[in-house]
Structures are given as structure tokens and as C-alpha cells.
């Protein structure tokens, strides 16, 4: 009997030990690194971070990008999910095509969109073909901040909508068909059925999708780096620059802590705002 009680602990021991050493310890170290200077507690790193020229822009850019990208992705995924529900033949193939970006890294996504948005790229060729522009137009410079913002947002939406879509489609698959049928019998329109039946029932899926995507959106880095370089500062990019170029681990850690805090607050807000019956959680 003794072994039986020990078994689960033996099974989780390797994973727990690993996470303790490579997740919890570095986590505490990051926090200490950020809040200390020469081994004494200090806010110097945060002061330096906040007074940095790029800080405000990076913070604003990261928030704007998240606030734009995440809602678009949720809407797009809901549309994809609703469409997919009604595809008969070929459903698997179409869903596969829509999930392809899941395997594509942010770096590759940035390069893909660079081929479209660069000066002699496909967007300009298309606009030229339509007669809308006469010569090559630059979209990705600091002189065109709005175009740069939308370029980066497009690449982000293109790359990371797949994961939201998968979570939402998985949620939609769980909605019992009879609910919709019953509502239809009582004459509920498609829109009513969607807002009154589907949406409330896929709350757990919506919640996980929102948390997952928001946390990842605050970590946006490589897409921005490939498309805008440092013309479009974001928090993670600043952390990278402070670590790699400036070799200042303290300020880099301060950025890391800031991203963490924002992610945790966002997660908390979603958990509070979207009430999910705990029994329905997977």
C-alpha cells in the first residue's frame, strides 16, 4: 500500500524538480535582478527603464498592438469556427489550411510579410497594377508609423489566429447540437442563436483563448524586429536590446518583470470578467 500512495509523487517528481530549477529559480532571480543594484535592493533599474527614450513608445506600441490584434483574432476565429461548422465535405482540409500558421514562427511570419510589404514587394505591385500609386511606396519606416503598425498587426494576425481558432473550434464542437436545434424550432434567428447559445456556451474556450493570446501578444518580438527593426519599439524588443546590445541585465530584467506583471493582471482580469463554471473546465 505504501508504494501505491507514493506512485503519483514519483510520477510528478521529475517534472516538479525540473520546473523548480528552470522555472521558479530563474523567476525569483529575474525579480531580484530587476529590484537590485550591486546586490542591494534598489529601484535604479526601473528608474533607468522608465526614463529611457524608448520606454513610453514601447509600452504604448505593445498595448496598442495587443488591443488591436486580440479582438480581431477573436472575431476572425469565431467567424472561422461558425463557417467550419457548416462545411460538409472538405472540412478537414479547410481546417488544416487554416491551422498551417500554427507551425510558423514569429520570425518566419515577419519575413513572409516583409516579402509583401517591402518597397518592391507584392503590396506595392498590386497597388501599382490598380493604378493607385505611381512609384514604390515605403511602408516600413519610422516616417510611416501608421502603415508600420498595420503591417506588424497584419503579420501578427496572420500568424497567431490559428491557435485562437483551434481553441474556439474545439469549444464550439462541445456545444450540444440539440440546443441549436431547439432554438431553431422556436424560430430563433442565426444571430440570436449565435449570441444566446453558442457564445455563452463557449465561455471557457473564449477565456483560455483570450488569456493565451493576450499573454503572448505582450511578448511580441520577432515579427516587429523583422518588419520594423527598432523603428517600432516594443517591450520585449527593448528587453532584448538591453540584454544583448547594452549588456545591462538589470534593466532587461526590469522589462521582464513589467511584462510579467502586465500578463498576470490581464490573466486575472479575464478570470474575473468571464465567469466560467468550474465544472465545465477541462
Amino acid at each position: 500500500m505504501q508504494t501505491k500512495r507514493l506512485t503519483p509523487y514519483l510520477l510528478i517528481l521529475p517534472a516538479t524538480a525540473f520546473l523548480a530549477v528552470l522555472f521558479l529559480v530563474p523567476l525569483v532571480q529575474t525579480i531580484w535582478l530587476a529590484f537590485s543594484q550591486g546586490n542591494a535592493p534598489s529601484m535604479a533599474n526601473f528608474q533607468r527603464m522608465v526614463s529611457d527614450l524608448n520606454f513610453n513608445t514601447a509600452l504604448r506600441n505593445t498595448f496598442l498592438l495587443t488591443l488591436f490584434v486580440v479582438p480581431v483574432q477573436i472575431a476572425l476565429s469565431l467567424a472561422m469556427g461558425s463557417l467550419a461548422m457548416h462545411i460538409g465535405k472538405g472540412r478537414e482540409t479547410i481546417l488544416w489550411i487554416w491551422t498551417i500558421p500554427l507551425g510558423i514562427s514569429d520570425l518566419a511570419a515577419g519575413l513572409v510579410w516583409l516579402s509583401i510589404l517591402q518597397n518592391s514587394g507584392y503590396l506595392n505591385s498590386f497597388l501599382y497594377g490598380l493604378g493607385l500609386i505611381e512609384r514604390q511606396q515605403a511602408w516600413l519606416t519610422y516616417q510611416t508609423p501608421i502603415a508600420l503598425f498595420f503591417g506588424i498587426a497584419m503579420a501578427e494576425i496572420w500568424r497567431s489566429t490559428a491557435i485562437v481558432m483551434i481553441v474556439i473550434v474545439a469549444g464550439m464542437n462541445q456545444v450540444p447540437k440539440d440546443f441549436n436545434e431547439a432554438a431553431q424550432v422556436f424560430g430563433a434567428s442565426r444571430w440570436t442563436r449565435f449570441t444566446k447559445i453558442t457564445l455563452p456556451l463557449i465561455r471557457p474556450a473564449l477565456q483560455s483563448a483570450l488569456i493565451l493570446r493576450t499573454v503572448l501578444a505582450f511578448e511580441v518580438f520577432a515579427v516587429v524586429y523583422t518588419l520594423g527593426g527598432r523603428n517600432f519599439p516594443v517591450l520585449m524588443g527593448e528587453a532584448y536590446t538591453w540584454q544583448n546590445t547594452n549588456q545591462n541585465y538589470g534593466v532587461a530584467a526590469a522589462y521582464a518583470v513589467l511584462i510579467m506583471v502586465i500578463s498576470l493582471v490581464a490573466t486575472f482580469v479575464y478570470l474575473k470578467a468571464i465567469k466560467v463554471d468550474p465544472e465545465r473546465l477541462p
Binding site: R5, T7, P8, Y9, L11, I12, P14, A15, F18, L19, L22, F23, L24, P26, L27, Q29, T30, L76, A79, L83, E92, L95, I97, I100, G103, I104, S105, A108, L111, V112, W113, S115, I116, Q118, S120, Y122, W158, I166, V169, A170, G171, Q174, E181, R190, I211, L212, V215, E219, F221, T226, M236, Y240, Q243, Y249, A252, A253, A256, M260, S263, P282
Partner: protein
């Protein structure tokens, strides 16, 4: 169960209205599919068009002068094959570690009730709320002390932190899907618990485990930040491309993008049946 297909129903609508609706439905699906596929086509054209192709103006969607040569030249760039190899190695180690560490924990969560179960689940879920890649910052210091800095193994360790919690949650779902009765029947027929596990549970869970492994591979293969911070000379493909991007010609960057995309697309294709099931729910 009756068919609630809205396109087949709605008997009162005139035929033309239905036709228009059907057209819109498929147009939306085609547009969304094109939205995914066309950009990949464009980057492939960039990779196979070479130096001249990049500056062609205006560009055509079906250019005539494509060849494999620019892509092959790109593959011969100094350090590229090594970086490719490093990426494969790091991803391979990540797969092995995250499945070996994650699957037992997933099995424990699926089959046992024990004190501390919720604490463990919380620890695993907590990793999802954090930008894990930034753990690479403090780890550089400890990795330098331990001789793990600038090694593929060091990168793989960080990637395992990213992939293993995922493996725990997914394998938990997979093991919960294997009927307990089958295991119990095996015990009755004289199998030890371990034998029953090997002969009954493993074969049934194998496809799901394979899908988990592929996901761990893709997570590691695509990771940029930690790999860039933790390596100098043993860069993975993403880290290598990130550092040489600034000074590379455009067609080189497009070839790099295509090279990054190809393996992961193949892997996603391999696990397409499990994509939706893996997120906790079966798709049928």
C-alpha cells in the same frame, strides 16, 4: 440527429437567394484560405527568385524566372547548415525531455487523486501566464557558471520549460481517454501494473504522445528569444537568422523564412487529426 444545415434548410427562400448565400459562404472560406496560403506563396517566390527577382518591379504573381539555385546558394551560406543542425538537435532534446518528464506527470494527474495535485496543476498552469522566454535572462548567468551557456543543450533546457507544461496537460487528456477498465482487465489476466501500462496504455496513447512530441518540436524549432540570448556561436536557425537579418540581402531573408516554415508545416500536417482533439475536445 437531424441535419440543421442552414443552407439546406430555409425552404421558404427563393432559389436565387439560396444560391447567393451559398456563394457568399464559399467565397468567405476561399478568402480565409487565401489569406493563409498566398503570403507563403509570396515568400517562396522571394526565396526562389534570387537577387534579381527581389528587385523586379512591378512583381507578378506567377513570375517566369524562378529557379532552385538561389535557395541552394542560400543553403550553402557559412554557418547555415550548422545552425539548421543545432535547431534540429535542440528540438530533438526538447521532445525527449518534455515527453519523458511531462507524460508521467500527465499520467499521475489522469489516474490518481493525491494531496498536492492542485498545487502541481497550478505550477503547470502558472508557466502559461509568464513570458517564459525571458527566463533566459537570469539563466545566462547560471548557465555561464555551469558551462551550459552557448550550448545547444542549454537552449533545449529552456525550450523544455516552454514545452513540458504543455506536454503535461495534453498527456493528461490522452491518458484520461484510455479506458481504465482495459487496464484493470489486464491486471486480472495476470499482468503486473507496469506490464499493463506498457501493453495496454502505451499503445493506445501512442498517437497522442506522438502529436505531443511534434508540438514540442515545433515550439522549440520556432523559439527565437531564448535561443538568441543563450547562444553566441552555437546558434539555432532562428537565432542565427535573427542576428544576420540586418545585414542580409532580401532574397536571403526570404529563403530563411521559407526554410523555417517548411519543417513546421510538414509537422502540423502530420498531426492535423489531433490538433482539435489535443485542445481537450474531440472534433467529431
Amino acid at each position: 440527429m437531424s441535419d440543421i444545415h442552414p443552407l439546406k434548410r430555409a425552404p421558404k427562400s427563393p432559389a436565387s437567394f439560396q444560391g447567393a448565400r451559398k456563394f457568399l459562404f464559399w467565397a468567405a472560406i476561399a478568402a480565409l484560405s487565401a489569406w493563409v496560403l498566398v503570403p507563403i506563396w509570396f515568400v517562396a517566390l522571394g526565396a526562389f527568385g534570387g537577387r534579381r527577382g527581389v528587385y523586379t518591379w512591378p512583381k507578378s504573381v506567377f513570375p517566369g524566372d524562378l529557379s532552385f539555385e538561389p535557395f541552394l546558394t542560400f543553403l550553402q551560406t557559412d554557418g547555415l547548415i550548422a545552425a539548421f543542425g543545432n535547431s534540429l538537435q535542440a528540438a530533438g532534446i526538447t521532445v525527449v525531455l518534455s515527453v519523458l518528464l511531462g507524460a508521467p506527470a500527465g499520467y499521475a494527474l489522469a489516474r490518481f487523486a493525491f494531496t498536492g495535485k492542485n498545487a502541481f496543476r497550478l505550477l503547470v498552469l502558472l508557466t502559461r501566464a509568464f513570458p517564459l522566454a525571458i527566463l533566459a535572462l537570469p539563466l545566462t548567468v547560471s548557465f555561464i557558471n555551469m558551462g551550459l551557456y552557448d550550448t545547444v543543450f542549454g537552449v533545449a533546457l529552456v525550450h523544455t520549460v516552454l514545452a513540458m507544461p504543455f506536454a503535461v496537460l495534453v498527456t493528461q487528456g490522452i491518458f484520461m481517454g484510455v479506458p481504465r477498465e482495459l487496464e484493470e482487465a489486464a491486471w486480472v489476466f495476470g499482468c503486473s501494473k507496469f506490464q499493463a501500462f506498457l501493453r495496454i496504455v502505451v499503445p493506445l496513447a501512442l498517437p497522442g504522445l506522438a502529436a505531443t512530441a511534434v508540438f514540442a518540436f515545433v515550439i522549440s524549432w520556432n523559439e527565437v528569444f531564448a535561443a538568441s540570448v543563450l547562444t553566441v556561436s552555437h546558434r539555432t536557425l532562428t537565432a542565427y537568422l535573427l542576428t544576420v537579418l540586418g545585414e542580409s540581402p532580401l532574397h536571403f531573408r526570404f529563403a530563411g523564412g521559407l526554410l523555417l516554415i517548411l519543417p513546421s508545416v510538414i509537422f502540423i500536417f502530420a498531426v492535423r487529426r489531433y490538433l482539435f482533439a489535443i485542445w481537450g475536445i474531440s472534433s467529431k
